[in-house]
C-alpha cells in the first residue's frame, strides 16, 4: 500500500487507530473460519461514521479495497482481506436510541449484540436474534451476514428485524433505506438486499431494528434420546403439532460430551442425542405447550425429560449450548463447521446423510444445531496438519451440500458464503442467480473495491 495513502488514512482516523505493523496485520489475517488466512494492507479503527465515509472516498479514488470487520467471528472468511484496508467497527459502539413509542432501536455497527439485548430487555423489550457468538459479535456483522441464532425458529433471523439502514456506499455517499415505518413500498426493497450482502455492497453506519415486547415467561426443557433418529422425528412432530418453540436445539453424542466437559451442566453422556427446547410467551400458553412437547418427546422414546426449575438453571443450559462449536475443538485442534440447511421436515433424512458421509470418508463429525428450523451444524473434528483427513472432510461436506440442495435446502443457513463456500454457490443458485447478483454488485460498486472476492 502506498505510503502517501497511509499518511492520508492516518490523518482521518488518528495515529493510534491505523495499524500497519507486521504483527498487527498478521493477527487481522484470520477470523473464526478454519483454514483461511489472508494478509491485509492496513487495519483502521474509525471512531465516527464521517471517518468511514472519508476512508471510503479515499480508497475509492485510489482503487484500494475495503473490508469491514466487527469482532472477527465470521465463519466463512468474510472479514478477511488480501492487501486491502480492513475497517474494524468496534469503536462505533453507541446505542443511538431506543424508541419505545415506535418499538425500534438504532445502533452503530460496532454495538455488541448482547449489549443491545441487555439495553432493550431492561425496558421490557426484546430483540430476538441471538447468534451463538452474541456476547462478542457486532450488529454490523449480524446484518451483513444475516445472522440467525437459537431463537430463529419462532422469531426469525436478523433480516426479519432490520427496518432501516444507513449505508456508506463505495464512493463515500450515504444511502438511507427504510426507517421506522412498518409499511414502505416506495421503490425496490433495498434493505433485504443489503442484509446478508457480506460487506460487498456498502458499509453500514447506522442500523434501525424492530423490537417486540419481551415474552412474559419461558420454560426450558431438556429431553434425552437413546436413538438419534427418534430425536429428529420428535423435532418434526413438535412442529407438526403446531407448537413453535422459541428454541429447538439438537446436540449429538460427540457434542454432548464436549459441552459437558467444559460447562458441567449435567448433560447425559450415555444417550445419542438431546433436544434443548424452550417455549416462551404467556404463562398459561407456555404451560400447555410444554405439556405437549413433553408428551411428544415421550412418544418418541425419550429416556428422560427435564424441565429447568429456575431461570438460572435455564440460562446455564442455553449458555452451555452456545459453547457447542468451540467446545468441540477440545477433541481435535481443527473444527470445520458447516451450516447446510434443509426444510425442517427433512431433518431426520439430513442427519442420516451426515452420518453416512462421515462413515464413508472416515471422519468424525459432531452435529448440533437449530434442528427446529432445519439448520444443522455438522462439525468435522480434524487436525489441520493431517492433509489427507482434511481432504476427506471436504469430500464429506461436498456430499452433504449436494444432499442439502437436492432436498430443497441451502449450502449456508446463517454463516454466509464468503470465501469458504464460494465454489458451492453456482450449484445452488445457477448461472442466472450468479448473473443477477453480479449485476447488483456492479450497480452498487462498479469499481469493485468493497470486500472483493467474496460470495461469487
Amino acid at each position: 500500500m502506498q505510503q502517501s495513502l497511509i499518511k492520508e488514512l492516518q490523518t482521518i482516523v488518528g495515529e493510534p487507530y491505523l495499524l500497519t505493523d507486521r504483527e498487527s496485520l498478521a493477527v487481522y489475517g484470520y477470523d473464526s473460519t478454519p483454514e483461511l488466512e489472508r494478509l491485509p494492507g492496513a487495519v483502521l479503527l474509525p471512531g465516527t461514521s464521517d471517518e468511514i465515509a472519508r476512508i471510503m472516498r479515499l480508497c475509492h479514488g485510489a482503487g484500494v479495497t475495503v473490508t469491514p470487520r466487527g469482532s472477527g467471528t465470521n465463519l466463512s472468511g468474510g472479514s478477511l482481506s488480501t492487501g486491502g484496508v480492513v475497517i474494524q467497527t468496534s469503536r462505533l459502539n453507541r446505542i443511538i436510541e431506543v424508541d419505545e413509542e415506535n418499538l425500534t432501536a438504532t445502533v452503530e455497527p460496532g454495538v455488541v449484540t448482547s449489549a443491545l439485548h441487555r439495553e432493550v430487555e431492561a425496558r421490557g423489550l426484546f430483540y430476538p436474534p441471538d447468534p451463538g457468538s452474541m456476547n462478542i459479535s457486532t450488529m454490523g456483522g449480524n446484518v451483513a451476514e444475516n445472522s440467525g441464532g437459537l431463537r430463529g425458529l419462532k422469531y426469525g433471523v436478523t433480516a426479519d428485524y432490520v427496518m432501516g439502514l444507513e449505508t456508506i456506499l463505495a464512493d463515500g455517499e450515504l444511502l438511507r433505506t427504510g426507517g421506522k415505518v412498518v409499511k414502505d413500498v416506495a421503490g425496490y426493497s433495498l434493505n433485504p438486499l443489503l442484509v446478508s450482502s457480506e460487506g460487498t455492497l456498502g458499509f453500514f453506519s447506522a442500523i434501525t431494528v424492530k423490537l417486540i415486547p419481551k415474552p412474559q415467561g419461558k420454560i426450558t426443557m431438556l429431553a434425552h434420546f437413546p436413538e438419534l433418529q427418534d430425536a429428529a422425528l420428535a423435532v418434526s412432530a413438535i412442529i407438526a403439532a403446531k407448537v413453535i418453540p422459541a428454541t429447538l436445539e439438537f446436540l449429538d453424542k460427540v457434542t454432548i460430551k464436549c459441552v459437558e466437559d467444559y460447562a458441567h451442566v449435567g448433560l447425559p453422556l450415555d444417550v445419542d442425542a438431546v433436544l434443548l427446547i424452550e417455549v416462551d410467551g404467556h404463562p398459561v400458553v407456555i404451560a400447555e405447550e410444554a405439556a405437549a412437547v413433553a408428551e411428544i418427546c415421550k412418544k418418541h422414546r425419550c429416556s428422560s425429560f427435564q424441565t429447568a426449575q429456575t431461570p438460572a438453571e435455564a440460562l446455564k443450559l442455553t449458555e452451555a449450548r452456545r459453547t457447542a462449536l468451540s467446545a468441540l475443538a477440545r477433541m481435535k485442534p481443527t473444527t470445520i463447521l458447516e451450516d447446510a440447511t434443509v426444510p425442517r421436515s427433512c431433518i431426520a433424512a439430513m442427519l442420516k446423510v451426515i452420518q453416512d458421509s462421515a462413515r464413508k470418508h472416515a471422519v468424525t463429525i459432531g452435529t448440533f444445531g437449530h434442528a427446529g428450523d432445519g439448520n444443522l451444524h455438522p462439525t468435522c473434528l480434524t487436525d489441520e496438519r493431517d492433509k489427507d483427513e482434511i481432504k476427506r472432510a471436504h469430500a464429506a461436506f461436498a456430499e452433504i451440500f449436494d444432499a442439502a440442495i437436492a432436498m430443497g435446502g441451502t449450502i449456508t443457513g446463517e454463516h454466509g458464503v464468503g470465501l469458504a463456500k464460494k465454489k458451492y454457490l453456482p450449484k445452488l443458485v445457477g448461472e442466472s442467480g450468479i448473473r443477477v447478483m453480479k449485476g447488483i454488485k456492479q450497480a452498487f460498486d462498479p469499481k469493485g473495491i468493497l470486500n472483493p472476492g467474496k460470495i461469487f
Partner: protein
Amino acid sequence: MDYVKLINCMRCGMCLPNCPTYKETFLETASPRGRVALVRKLKDGELDQSERLLEFLSLCLDCQACASSCPCGVNAGELVAEFTCERKSDTGLNFMEDLVLRKLVPHPDRLETSMVPMRMYQNTGLQKLVRTLGLLKIFPKPLERMEGLLPPLPARPLRQEIREVTPAIGTERGTVGFFLGCVMSLIFSDASRATIQLLTSLGYRVITPRNQVCCGAPNMLGGDLAGLKEAAVTNLSVFGGYDVDFIVTDCGGCGAELKKYGHHIEGEQAATFSAKVRDISQVLALHADELRAQLKPLALKATYHDPCHIAHCQGIRKEPRDLLKLVPGLEYREMESADACCGSAGTYNINRPEMSDRILKRKLDTIRDSGAQVLVTSNPGCLLQLKKGLADHLPQVKIMHLTEILSRSISG
C-alpha cells in the same frame, strides 16, 4: 511449549469480551486470541521475535479470564507466561531481575530488611514531607507508583511475630499448615492474623513453618521458571516435615502457585502437596454452620471482588460469597463483572501504569454501582491496588480481606 496447545485455539473469539486489555483497546493484538496467534506465528517462523511482538505480549495481565471463558480449554494467559519463561531461559535474567527474583524474593529475612527503610520513611513523617513537597517527581515513575501504592506498614512483619504452632481453641479437629504469603506478612499482617484466629476457633491447630519461602509466583511472572522450581523444592521440603490435613493460604496468588507445584515438579511429593492446598475460603466453607454460630451482626452493605488467582486460576467463586452471606445483618451486593481483573496483576500496575489505571477505573465504577460500603477480596495484590483506587476515587468505600470481615463479625 506444547504446540498442540497453540493450535487448539480455534479463534472463535469467545475470550474477547472477557479480556480486560481487549475491552480497553479493541485491538486483536491485545486479545487472548491474538496473543495465541502471535506466539504461534513466531513458532511457525511467520513472525520474528521483534520488540513490538514482545511489547504486545507483555500487555497481557495473565489474569486468565480468557481461560475461564474458553470452551476449547486454551489458556492464553498461561501460554504467554510459558513463552516468557522459555525466552528468559535462553536470554537469562537481566541485572534487576536477578537482583529481585534471586537475591531478594527467595529470602524472607532480606525481604523484611528491605522494607525497614520504607517503614522508617512512613513513621518518621518523612513520607508526609516528601508528599507535601512533591519530591517524588524527581524519582523514576515506577518508584513513585510503588510509593503511592504502599499503605501504612505494620510495626513488624507477621512472620517474626507468629508462633510456629498455634493451638486449636476447644476440641482439636485437625492440623493445617499455614502458608504465609510474603505480602500478607509484610503488609497485610492483620488479615493473616485473622486467618489464624478463624482456623483455630474452628478447632484447627495451625502450623506456620518459620523457614518457608516465597511461593515463587514472582519468579513465574518474571519468566524465571528455574527460580520458581527452587522455591517449590524448598517449600516442599519445609512442609514435608509436618503431617497436616490441608495447606492453607489466604493469598490468592500463593494458592494458585502452590496448587501448580505438582505440575512443575515431578514426583509424588509435589502432587500430594498441591492436592492439599486450599484457599482459606474453601476450608471455612466446610464449617459454615459452626462459623455462623460464632458470627455477630454487622450492618453493612458488602460486595466481593474475585481475585483472578482465585476465580480464574483456582475456580473458586461460590465459597467467599457464601461465607459473606453467613454474616447476620450483612447485605450482600453482587457487582457487575466481579471477576474482572482490577489491574494489579503482580507488578503490572507499576510497569504498565496507564493500562492498569484504565482497568482499575472500570472496576471502581462497578464497585460504586453496587452501592456497597465495604469491598471484600482476598488477594494482597488486589488489596493494594483497590485500597489505593478507593482512597483516591471512592473514599467512602472501605476494603477488607475476607478473613478480616469474618473476624470482625466474630468480635462483634
